[in-house]
Structures are given as structure tokens and as C-alpha cells.
Symmetry: C2
Subunit: 138 residues, 2 copies
Amino acid sequence: MSDLLQRLRGRGWRLTAQRRVVAEVLDGDHVHLTADEVHARAAARLPEISRATVYNTLGELVSIGEVIEVSTDGRAKRYDPNAHRPHQHLVCSRCGTIRDVHPSGDPLAHLPSSERFGFTVSEVEVTYRGLCPNCATA
Amino acid sequence: MSDLLQRLRGRGWRLTAQRRVVAEVLDGDHVHLTADEVHARAAARLPEISRATVYNTLGELVSIGEVIEVSTDGRAKRYDPNAHRPHQHLVCSRCGTIRDVHPSGDPLAHLPSSERFGFTVSEVEVTYRGLCPNCATA
DNA sequence: TCCTACACTAGACAGAGTCTAAGTCAAGAT
DNA sequence: ATCTTGACTTAGACTCTGTCTAGTGTAGGA
């Protein structure tokens, strides 16, 4: 994640304690935290960090493409730091667990041009839903 | 849509004026209204209908599978009555226009079992994003 | 070390959705 | 046709998520 801090500095970001902590909290695989969860974990290390700063920092990370915003449940958005490898999400309909999964082939190719209605299609978002092993046996 | 009213009666629903109006408002193709829009249109015909009733009715229609809930923008959910024909959504990133599009093949098949991690996968939700013809030229 | 533009904070505000308590009414029973 | 009852509806308070603002603090260049 220090890579990330270097990249941010390269973009002219001031490296404040708050931004560092938010970046650290988001480090790791299969991380899909809500803004409030990021705030709670950041506040554990830096108690005076405010919600607004967490929202601002997350928004900035999203807008420069370092983090992806995911809304799998229509409630709070979740933030996924695994932005550099294209992937999709597999969500448990009961407990809400989210896993990153990897596409076989380019999902964009599955939309025939006759179904594009003149749109310039540039992205596709795929969410698989079902029951995770735990919830399936319960 | 009177089909729908029959199906609801078959499920033991009381056919109230409010439920009838909500069902009528949702009738049609490429309808993707927010709950507030449904409420506004319903109130045009039945001024005393409350927001809570609209939310309740929409929730009931979703839970029996007559209507699909779509959240394409992370803000208000939208309600899509075209629930009986499987389809996906094509969304303009600038103006938010939504079109229904139809898959070629079963998108569920594109997730290899090695990428299912023991989940029982039953649904897939696909959203294509890009610019609509209007926004692309502007 | 000083300066200043950028960043941070607390808290008010806004939008979407849920909940509750009290009143209303659809539809089966009489 | 009227009664009865529990499901349905209502208004409005409340919660949750996210945004905005005005004032304060500070990173990093001069």
C-alpha cells in the first residue's frame, strides 16, 4: 500500500495522517467496507478523524481509480481497493458476504450491438447472488 | 396489468384502491421509476395515498417476484415491472437513462465453478454503462 | 522558520427508506 | 343488506447514509 501513497504524492496529494490511515484500513484482499466501517477502523488509530474526511478521501480514491465503489445491497456503498485487477462480485443473499471473482472472457462482449441502441458502452458490472456455504447448510 | 390484479387476489391480497393505483402506475415497458416517482404518479390519481403505502406495496410486489428492484446509481432504488422476461440494464453514465436489454445466452454460465467458492449461485445482475446517443454527441 | 493554500473538524442539513400508533375498510360471515 | 374483524392505510417521527459549510489546523515549499 506504500505504492499507493507514492502514487498519491505523485498526483500532488498532501500526505496527511488521515489519508494515510484511510489507505491503510483499505489494504488487503476481499476488503469491502462501508464508509462507516472505514471510519470506525480509522478512528481506532486516529480518534479525531471525522466522517467528512473519510467520505472525502474515499471519494478521491474512487475518482482517481484506486478504489471501486460497490453497492450490492442498495444500502451503504462499499469500497473495494482491488481496483487494478478487473473482477466481479459474488454476494450471499442471506448474510451479505462478498467475494471477488474473476471473469472468464470479457463480459462486455456478451452484449450484441443490436442490443446497444446506439450507446457507447464502456463498462459492465456483474453481481452474482446465491447462498454461501455457511448459509446454504443452515 | 389486470392479470397482475388477478394474481394478487389469488395470493389472498385485499384489492384496495391504493394497490390498484400502484400497479397501474408501474404498467408499461422500460418503466424504471423511483419510489418517490411512483408516489407522485399514484397521488395524481389518488391524492391521499401515503408514502408508506407505496413503499409497502412496492416491497410486496418485489417479494412475490412481480417487480424487480434496480439500483443503478447508488441513490434511490428503481422499480422495474418487466420481471417475467429476464433482462439486463444499459445505463447512460451522464443522464442516467435506463434501457432494458436482453442477454445472448445465460450469463450465469459465465462463472466457472472454480470461481464459485462453494456458493449456490442462483441469480446474476448485469449493468452495462456508457453514453447514450444524445449524451455522446453533446 | 514562516506562509498559505489545501486539508480537517464538528455539526447542521438533506434524501431515501422504515416504523409506529391510531384510524379505515374489503370481504367473508350472518 | 349489515356486521365484524383483521388486514390495510395514514401522518409523521425516526434512522441511516451521505453532503455541505464555516471555521481551524497543517504540509510542504520559499
